[in-house]
Amino acid sequence: MTAVPNREILDVPTEENEPAPHTGEFIDDETVVRSQWQLFWKRFFRHRMAVISAIVLLLIIFVCFAAPWLAPYPKNHQNLTLGAVGPSAQHWFGTDDLGRDQLTEMMYAGQISLKIGLAVALISTLMGTLFGALAGYFSEWTDQVLMRVTDLFLVVPAIAILAIAIKKFGNSATTIILILAGLGWMYIARVVRSQILSIKEKEYVEAARASGASHKRIITRHLIPNTIGPILVNATLAIAAAIITESTLSFLGFGVQPPTTSWGRMLADAEGYVGTAKAHLLYFPGLAILITVMCVNFIGDGLRDAFDPQSSR
């Protein structure tokens, strides 16, 4: 045995008498010590489709919201003599009956569609998380009441309610966001509740209670952070669902009204042109919705795999 450095014998266990492998030298070695988030991003980046989708989606969002600077023509700029023509060098996505550049129109319409998608996902996720967390944590009658309310919202025919509500409250983007969120939080509530039901039995929750933490603190500091994976995945999917529902509503005539446009609205306006020379008016908004929703879904897939340490991807 080599000479032991002249070191006071401490009664504190040190690296020397700590038998476990995770000690001293690992700390400076960044390849070994990885935080949860580093692992998370590593797994996410391994999901190729999700990464491509994230890039495409960010690009779509950027292009739409930078429309005032990027759009080739001003909004609602009409060229009545031109009329509806197909894609060309001047008008990449063609023009409509009033000679409006479809690329420009789609960029502005995308703002509304994306805004609705993101806002609905945000609000319904917050609502759902709150309901689910309270129901799961307090159980018994709180759970019963909240879950029966959730069931009630689940069984009402959403489209009919939407149509009536929009008739009554008008169809501004804000109203549509609130109504869609009000009809979309139940799915997240159920997922969060089921997660919380299992997480609240974990010993660290017991330990938090034993250290004097209040219910509010346990829910916000322990339960919800440990549920963040499923919450984020479902929030992503809620974006896609909201964009599609908004399109459906517009198609049925309950969506945003001109001069405000959304992709769904544009699709609805071009409804009669299937199989005609003006079919491009249908294809581009349809494609935009398709690509956006697909991207969002792939990102959701990627998030799900990244949050699940057992996933093999």
Partner: protein, 364 residues
Amino acid sequence: MSTTDDVPVDELQSVEPERRADVPVDAVLSVRNLRVEFPSDDGIVHAVDDLSFDVFENEVVGIVGESGSGKSVTSMAIMGLLPKRARISGEVFYRGRPISGLAENDIRKLRGSKIAMVFQDALTALDPVYKVGDQIAEAITVHDRHIDKSVLHERVVELLNLVGIPNPVQRAEQYPHEYSGGMRQRAMIAMSIANEPDVLIADEPTTALDVTIQAQVLEVMERIQERTNSAIVLITHDMGVVAGVADRVVVMYAGRAVEVGNVDQIFYEPHHPYTLGLLASLPRLDEDRSDVRLHRIKGQPPSLVHVPPGCAFHPRCEFARCPDPCSTEVPQLRALGDLDHIAACHFAEDVAKLRPDDLRTEAS
């Protein structure tokens, strides 16, 4: 704690607001006639039955017993952490003040600051999404919201250092999964002593660890006790741990205390056949007795739904005289000589004459 649910009204009224005569003045924690029952499909589970004990300042009380003897339920009952369906009666006193009837908000202020708990499995008792340092800080901020950030950080590092975590500054920035098992348990201890509690309840703190780490963790707990003068309630099924650390011992069987005494009394002069049996079943390293078989307590611990009548231990007891009195009359805890050494056995006088070796038989 939801004691009010099932306690008859007259019993509630009998709880004097003033200090009770049978609660010692200098006890930090006193448990009186604690009874915990859980309704189940098969009947009522009598988890803890008429348990009373005191914990004084600066002492380690070991609670030993087999799995299912009510040790953990007792600790949860003290903390007021039992599920609502549990029926609880009896009282818990903190420094002579009854705390078992307190509202959730009031008892919460005691948890962690005055009475803290170390959990058995540190792997699951640490939240995986927080850095260890942040979790310890959390335990402090729960009771002191306005503590200065830098003071807090210093305190966390100091605590980690106190429990013997090497490189505490870097270690505070790591997640529980980057810790080894022994370090997690020590981090857990750091968390529970963060507010310098008067009573530390350690529920089998060494069960999930190998003997080397066990020794380290126990040593950490002893060192902390010297530093903070807190009382420790050590719940374990390991007689060896109790012998090494505890000052006084409560031996539990089927939810009841069968023998209470200081560690020498329990280990050298057991008065209860169960304690005697446990000791006789321990291998001894200090003498070469390869020709002697270890004792075996016959049978299984009883189901807590159907606790045997009379003395719960009588079906397994070598000294039982059935039916009378062992299977008909519940033996009360009584002292033979020293007043602080009590055992619940009808024939404690006879048992007291025996030593663990007397139960061992020659190997064939």
